[in-house]
Amino acid sequence: MKSQIYVFILSLLLFAWDRAYSQPKISVDMGFGFYEPTLSGFDDNLSIQFPTKGFLNRNLLLNWGISYEFFNNARIGYNSLLSYEIGNNLEIVNSNAVFRRSIRYRMFPIETYFRWKPRIELNFTLTPIWGRGRIEMDTTPGDKTEDWNDLINSFGGDQDPITDMGATDVMISDWIGYGSKLGVRYYVNSRLAIDVKGGFMNNFYNNDNWRIQRQKVTGPKMKITDLPVFSLKIVYGIK
């Protein structure tokens, strides 16, 4: 029994020694993603004229991430894909509002890989997704100017100096999903690489799960599940 304990301690020490001498590999990456969602809540909306759909505000995703090699041939990390849209002078009942819409796919990938050739790596990614939709709007609420003028008048000076004011409120929705990707990485040098990935993602989005000021509301209909997704990024190994 005693010898077994010694063997156990010895193997633990060897494991710790190996860990201490292996290189932790932290890398950061930046690039673009491409996909094709159907945002019918915006595009087919008859009441409000949202910004016209195009490649930049529908298909392009801004991508950045960080990863850590925690095991031989395996990395874990964080990856964010952002779709963004902005529109000025959105005509609604009482305002010409500024409208901003973002859909962010936050991924926590586990990626395994092997080197097919000294400079070429094939990688395999499985990832849970925490998605967040955000709609932000600057509006002109009715009584706000009067309230602020009341407050400012109480300090003295000119009477009713404020003629126009705006307020920004946000509606948010969260959902979960998962994705899977196959990728090829070409190492330009031992630190710098170009990474191309292709795969799919499924998001369990429900348009009844939006909230604004802690009140549950119905949001836009969006088909963001069962989508092929591609990414192109530059990876730099920090350590």
Binding site: Q23, N72, N73, T112, F114, P118, R119, S180, L182, F200
Partner: protein, 112 residues
């Protein structure tokens, strides 16, 4: 006294110059670290200094040494990563199957 100070100053400058010339860039600790543990082991803050040292080393006849440093680095990474270890192959297979299932479904599945 002033003469003594000038002599001291000039001699220190002279020694500094000699010291700088004597230092071999190929045997700098950073180059040795890269040779021993790989280029990625060089801290990011020293990367510009490391590049300068490599250039100087190449100019001082260490071209082969730098070439070997890079070659060894590529080989080290390649040897370490060319075979999947432990559970990683199972993970890769799961990804491959889900990827194949999805895209084959996209091509062949018919909508009801």
């Amino acid at each position: 006294m002033r003469g003594l100070v000038y002599t001291f100053m000039f001699s220190s400058l002279l020694f500094a110059k000699v010291g700088e010339k004597d230092m071999d860039p190929c045997s700098d600790p950073l180059i040795r670290l890269a040779q021993k543990k790989g280029v990625k082991a060089v801290p990011l803050k020293d990367i510009l200094k490391f590049k300068k040292l490599m250039k100087e080393c190449e100019e001082n006849g260490g071209k082969e040494k730098i070439k070997q440093l890079h070659l060894r680095d590529w080989n080290r990474d390649y040897k370490k990563a060319r075979r999947m270890a432990g559970w990683t192959s199972t993970h890769a297979m799961c990804v491959f199957v889900s990827f194949g299932y999805y895209f084959i479904g996209k091509i062949y599945a018919t909508k009801p």
